[in-house]
């Protein structure tokens, strides 16, 4: 008969919290010659990032008794709801200023119309931008997460609605001053805006095609036949690049400082997101193209 060899049988390790003496983790099948470092590793792996819905119990790094930790994320709201609300606001609010509804400007201006072409163009561009966003939310985007914390909707709506009102107030003001370089400036800026809107849409479509309906797979995005997607050669998040470009175009077209400030704040936030996305691409894919920067080719 075989004698159990104490040097080779797998061990069970129970880890308790030193202060409250509660069981934190139970590891069975630990190699007897495992170092404390390795045991620490096993422990932190079980405490790390949140599990996904698709994860299979058998494949998790736990022993025969799996301890799952529940974290209450607080009140949640669906991404789609948030997006629709935060985009519908600016669309509607801008139009209030465009049509000069009473109590915004002096009463003699109620329901009057600006005599500057650029003001009408600006309304079309701004409205188009948000209609596009709403339609993309409904028909294009495939979200990884279903929900986000409820407090986000208040924060996000304040940002979008607040800035929309601030910009719209000046662009549609009776004392609005058209751009210094006139029609030339407006034409150039409009071209930038349109190109960037098309670019942004192309990227959204390309990202959608990467991921089949209902799935949550992640793949490296690559340029397609659409020239707008060739920006993928240089940046990880060309959708953000094009978005910044659109707003710069709009700022030049309206020559309005609040628009420039809005573009700057948006650029800052999108850069943070792009860097995060870029970092997670690098972590997930060994063969990620090395030439790519997060948001600005060669620079940022």
């Amino acid at each position: 008969s075989k004698h159990p060899d104490p040097f080779h049988t797998l061990r069970e390790v129970e880890i308790l919290d030193a202060k409250i003496r509660e069981k934190l983790c139970f590891l069975d099948k630990v190699e007897p010659h495992a170092t404390i470092a390795e045991i620490k590793n096993l422990f932190t792996k079980t405490q790390g990032k949140s599990l996904k819905d698709e994860d299979v119990l058998q494949k998790l790094p736990v022993g025969t008794t799996a301890t799952l930790y529940f974290r209450d994320l607080g009140a949640q709201i669906s991404w789609v709801t948030v997006f629709l609300t935060e985009y519908a606001g600016p669309l509607f609010i801008y139009l209030l200023f465009y049509f000069r509804v009473p109590f915004i400007y002096g009463h003699k201006y109620d329901f009057t119309s600006s005599r500057h072409t650029v003001v009408h163009l600006a309304c079309i561009c701004h409205s188009f931008h948000y209609v596009k966003r709403l339609l993309e939310t409904l028909f294009v985007h495939r979200f990884s997460h279903g929900t986000m914390p409820l407090r986000n909707i208040f924060k996000n709506c304040t940002y979008y609605w607040g800035f929309a009102a601030w910009m719209a107030y000046y662009i549609n003001h009776p004392l609005y001053t058209p751009p210094t370089y006139g029609a030339q400036q407006v034409k150039l800026a409009l071209a930038i805006f349109v190109i960037c809107q098309l670019g942004n849409f192309s990227i959204h479509m390309a990202l959608r095609d990467l991921r089949p309906a209902g799935s949550k797979t992640r793949k490296i995005p690559y340029p397609t036949k659409n020239p707008f997607t060739w920006l993928f050669l240089l940046v990880s998040c060309p959708n953000y690049t094009y978005e910044v470009g659109s707003w710069i175009g709009f700022a030049i077209m309206t020559q309005c400082l609040p628009v420039a400030l809005f573009s700057l704040v948006g650029f800052t936030q999108m850069t943070i997101w792009a860097k995060g996305k870029h970092r997670s691409y690098l972590k997930e894919f060994r063969d990620y193209p090395p030439l790519r920067m997060p948001i600005i080719p060669f620079l940022l």
Binding site: Y170, I171, L175, Y176, T177, T254, Q255
Partner: protein, 158 residues
């Protein structure tokens, strides 16, 4: 920066509000410099800072006299409202002069299609004291309870 255990957010807030009071209000509006309210907040800030930096210095040297700790977490009860009153009264005194001179304000039309009314901005700042001051004040009261009672317990075990 990790040298002293204060919150970066709260401290930046305080530094910004002080820089604002000094440069954007008292320095910019000369007529206000002879007001008693200026004396009020300068005294409050000065005493607070002398105590606070003594506290940090002694803490870093690992030799903190209880008196300093007590002073830091007790005198604020008077000094803080004193400082806030001085600040608010100073801003209030500056208002008519700001309006008259159109200080730091820009109106339409202009080629950047932007406007800013410093007078309205100052009023907004004054209003913001209403939600902010109680939060900071009660945070310090809470800290006081935590830190001064902790010392009491330690003394019992000696």
């Amino acid at each position: 920066m990790g040298i002293v255990p204060s919150s970066v957010v709260l401290t930046s807030f305080q530094v910004m509000s002080r820089v604002f009071l000094i440069w954007a209000v008292t320095h910019s509006v000369k007529e206000v410099q002879s007001e008693d309210s200026v004396l009020l907040f300068v005294i409050a800030w000065t005493i607070t800072e002398i105590i606070r930096y003594s506290f940090y210095t002694f803490s870093l040297l690992n030799h903190l006299p209880y008196l300093i700790k007590w002073a830091r977490y007790t005198l604020f009860i008077v000094l803080y409202p004193m400082g806030v009153s001085g600040e608010l009264l100073t801003i209030y005194a500056a208002l008519p002069f700001v309006r008259q001179a159109g200080l730091y304000s820009i109106s339409l039309p202009n080629k950047y299609n932007f406007s800013f009314d410093y007078h309205a901005f100052l009023i907004l700042i004054m209003i913001s004291y209403i939600p902010i001051f109680p939060q900071l004040y009660f945070h310090m009261i809470h800290q006081r309870r935590k830190i001064l009672s902790h010392t009491e317990e330690h003394k019992k075990f000696e």
